[in-house]
């Protein structure tokens, strides 16, 4: 019986080494490409005919797009239109990576902080650069809420800076922690089912309890996978809004 943490191991599938760096094609890379292919297939085959009266598949694609479009519209407003493709890509990639990870023998890409922090750091630098490009040095007024009396500046500025710097970390840790914790929990309960089943006799009957728990947890994990992808995209729009519209 494999331990609950073995599912997160990175295994090189095709070793590549460039100038002393290990750039192997790993199971994580493979599942990222898988998520990319599923996304591509979903969008391509959904919109291939692109009829005026959409069929089921086309409706699903359009509904998802409208959902992201609405989210950006409510959080950023008219200036956010050009960021819809970015938020949409982010949302659908994380959603499919989360959901694909729930299949047995699958690897959950988003259960690695290296992956989620790469996203969050990219979003953070993007927010800073967009803010600086749009507002110049006035962007730093983000650290000083309007109407702060001068004698509070020395307190408010460090607090706001820490609050701002903690954004990429909260964004990445939330997704990574949710996915990792859920998968560990699932694996532990599935482990109970197997070991109780092997024990035989009355213990095999008791094994129904962790099995029922696994089924319930799996449903919960499905919701968590969707909600976390949504929260990640939502907070990205909230952070982008601060850079674009520059007011709290």
């Amino acid at each position: 019986m494999a331990g609950p943490l073995e599912q997160f191991e990175i295994q090189p599938l095709y070793p590549i080494e460039v100038a002393g760096y290990d750039l192997s094609f790993t199971n994580a890379s493979a599942w990222m490409i898988f998520a990319l292919l599923v996304t591509w297939g979903f969008l391509f085959f959904g919109m291939r005919k692109s009829e005026l009266v959409p069929g089921r598949w086309q409706s699903a694609v359009e509904g998802l797009y409208e959902f992201v479009h609405g989210m950006v519209d409510t959080n950023i407003g008219p200036k956010g239109k050009k960021y819809v493709p970015f938020i949409f890509s982010l949302f659908i990639f994380i959603l499919i990576a989360n959901l694909a990870g729930l299949f047995p023998y699958a690897f959950t890409v988003t259960s690695h902080i290296a992956v989620t922090f790469a996203f969050a750091a990219f979003i953070f630098f993007m927010c800073v650069l967009i803010g600086l490009a749009k507002h110049g040095f006035r962007f730093f007024s983000l650290f000083l809420p309007a109407g702060t009396p001068w004698f509070l500046w020395i307190l408010v500025i460090p607090i706001e800076m820490i609050s701002f710097l903690s954004r990429p970390i909260t964004l990445s840790v939330r997704l990574f922690a949710n996915m990792t914790a859920g998968h560990i929990l699932l694996k532990i309960f599935i482990g109970f089912v197997v070991s109780l089943g092997v024990a035989g006799g009355i213990w095999s009957v008791v094994g129904i309890l962790p099995f029922a728990m696994t089924v319930a947890l799996f449903g919960l994990e499905l919701i968590v996978a969707v909600v976390q992808a949504y929260v990640f995209a939502l907070l990205t729009t909230v952070y982008l809004n601060d850079s674009i519209n520059l007011h709290h």
């Binding site: 820490i162 609050s163 903690s166 970390i169 840790v173 949710n178 319930a216 919701i223 976390q228």
Partner: protein, 117 residues
């Protein structure tokens, strides 16, 4: 025949009935998952801000050689920033307009074919 066949009802009535059937109240599992997501979000907001503050303080201490004073000061700032994050996250959730409130708004006829943007 005492009651009209479904197809004889006006379209709006059938649509409203179908909407009511489809929406219903969210399942307990959905409520639990949302509450869980909300809870982890708030917990992480608080903890991470404290850690970032402490990390900045430690870095400044190493740079200026003032250990451990800046660490302590920035730790406190981090704590305050964490609570600020908490307040912002909660008030953001509360500021959301619910669908019921939107439905209560008066409906204005759309008089042009322009897109929203």
């Amino acid at each position: 025949m005492t009651e009209p066949r479904p197809n004889e009802l006006p379209f709006e009535a059938r649509l409203a009935a179908a909407r009511a059937r489809a929406e219903g109240s969210p399942s307990p599992k959905q409520v639990a998952a949302n509450a869980f997501a909300q809870g982890t979000r708030l917990a992480i907001e608080l903890v991470v801000a404290v850690l970032v503050g402490a990390a900045i303080g430690y870095g400044l201490d190493v740079f200026f050689g003032t250990s451990p004073f800046l660490l302590l000061v920035m730790f406190m700032f981090g704590l305050v920033a964490g609570f600020l994050n908490l307040v912002r996250a909660v008030s953001y959730e509360q500021a959301k307009i619910t669908q019921a409130e939107l439905d209560a708004l008066p409906v204005v006829e759309d008089d042009d074919d322009d897109e929203k943007w």
